[in-house]
């Protein structure tokens, strides 16, 4: 209900903000909930001189959708995630809230540090995998599919609790091998077009490739609402899209290759503030 109310407002408010843009101050040219979209001094060893959020490269009409949460269509999923958080599911008769109480407290900062090492499973888990691990083990509920509406809603809701916090994933200790694997995937040329992620997002960001304005391909806004998808989508869905475009066989959502790349990519964006749910075209 709340969702459709927002969607109705979308048009009116978007129109309103266009008029206001003429008098916008610098504070107005940031996405909602963050204080910066750049890291001017990247971590030691970064291949980038400056780390920049994908928001910076989008047209002002797309940006404006992320400047106010009422305009942001991704908030439909955040709201749905909030209600799922409190919904009992599974044979154990529990909801997320049964164990974690108030998400605003218990989940603050979690989304900025994902994927995280799981000591029991001896592997890193993405947010999706962590959520499913809670569902199957603690709630005795069915796992959600990676790109299911519930999963998108829950990942968006949980990560939204870290909005404005700097991305900071562990890449040492047991995570080191995974980050290195991710780096290898990132720099490997794939597909008939024979390109790596770095060809577009490191060597050529800021330039147009046909109609597309290339960003650094950062992950701080995911899950992201894409106008092209007309819905929220996961980071791994985006990975697949980029690989398909270069005529390669994409890895599967949740595959070790994509988990490794997610870790490495989060590290490349170290210090960028979480923007979930970002809006992109």
């Amino acid at each position: 209900m709340k969702g459709s109310f927002k969607l109705g407002l979308l048009v009116t408010i978007a129109a309103g903000s266009t008029i206001m843009m003429g008098v916008a101050n610098s504070q107005d040219s940031l996405p909602a909930g963050v204080t910066s979209i750049k890291v001017a001094t990247p971590y030691k060893g970064s291949p980038l001189d400056e780390i920049i959020s994908g928001w910076h490269f989008r047209a002002s009409e797309t940006q404006s959708l992320q400047q106010d949460d009422f305009d942001n269509p991704g908030y439909l999923w955040v709201d749905k995630g909030e209600s799922l958080w409190n919904t009992v599911d599974g044979e154990a008769g529990k909801s997320c809230a049964s164990c974690h109480n108030e998400a605003a407290k218990s989940m603050k900062g979690v989304g900025a540090e994902m994927p995280k090492w799981d000591a029991k499973l001896k592997r890193p888990l993405t947010m999706e995998q962590r959520i499913n691990s809670c569902r199957t083990n603690n709630m005795k509920a069915k796992a959600w599919k990676w790109e299911a509406d519930q999963m998108l809603s829950m990942t968006a809701f949980v990560r939204n609790q870290s909005r404005g916090m700097p991305v900071n994933v562990q890449v040492d200790g047991p995570m080191k091998a995974w980050a290195e694997k991710g780096k290898e995937v990132y720099y490997t040329r794939v597909g008939q077009l024979d390109m790596s992620c770095a060809n577009c997002h490191e060597a050529n960001y800021g330039k147009h490739i046909r109609a597309d304005h290339l960003s650094q391909g950062q992950s701080n806004g995911f899950p992201t609402y894409r106008l092209k998808w007309q819905k929220l989508g996961s980071l791994h869905r985006r990975f697949k899209g980029c690989m398909k475009n270069i005529r390669a066989v994409p890895y599967k959502r949740g595959s070790d290759e994509f988990v490794a790349m997610e870790i490495y990519l989060a590290h490349r964006g170290k210090g960028l503030q979480v923007e979930t749910p970002a809006v992109r075209n």
């Binding site: 490997t188 040329r189 794939v190 597909g191 008939q192 077009l193 024979d194 390109m195 790596s196 060809n199 577009c200 060597a203 050529n204 330039k207 147009h208 490739i209 046909r210 109609a211 690989m243 398909k244 270069i246 005529r247 390669a248 066989v249």
Partner: protein, 156 residues
């Protein structure tokens, strides 16, 4: 009448298949093309390139898609020219036909290993090529020749 028509159409189709077959048979196989001194000396097909067709392949998103990366003043009517490579204007003043052929066949041997530009007539590509494109070149030998013919018209 119907019968005669379809008979003629059938013959024409058969004839075209034979012709296409022989043109293909004559095209140098991608792994047999020799790049020497940044040049490929002779035509890939022995058939003169058609500049008007080449112009189409240059812009076509599923074929050359050259416009994705190279702007082109000869195509101002088309929107969205890329900025990744240098503008293509006047390319014929900078490169001979044989150099252009080498750049198109396997850009990396001429422009350097690091280039983002794909090789359009080579079999060895990146890892995990999509099934649909596996073992196939991006352009046919004749399409490469057509694009070269087109590029040779771009003088300043």
């Amino acid at each position: 009448m119907m019968k005669a028509n379809s008979l003629i159409a059938g013959c024409a189709a058969a004839l075209m298949t034979v012709m296409a077959g022989s043109a293909l048979a004559e095209a140098t196989k991608p792994d047999m093309v020799k790049i020497d001194d940044n040049k490929v000396k002779s035509s890939l097909t022995g058939i003169k390139g058609n500049a008007a067709d080449g112009k189409k392949w240059f812009a076509n998103r599923k074929l050359g898609n050259c416009l994705a990366c190279h702007s082109n003043k000869d195509m101002t009517s088309k929107p969205f020219h890329g900025e990744i490579g240098p503008p293509i204007d006047g390319v014929a003043d900078r490169h001979s036909e044989q150099e252009l052929r080498a750049i198109l066949v396997d850009s990396k041997t001429v422009l350097g290993k690091e280039t983002i530009m794909p090789g359009f007539y080579k079999i060895k590509t990146g890892a995990r090529p999509a099934k649909k494109f596996k073992g196939k070149t991006i352009l046919s030998g004749q399409q490469v020749e057509d694009i070269i013919a087109y590029l040779l018209t771009l003088k300043e």
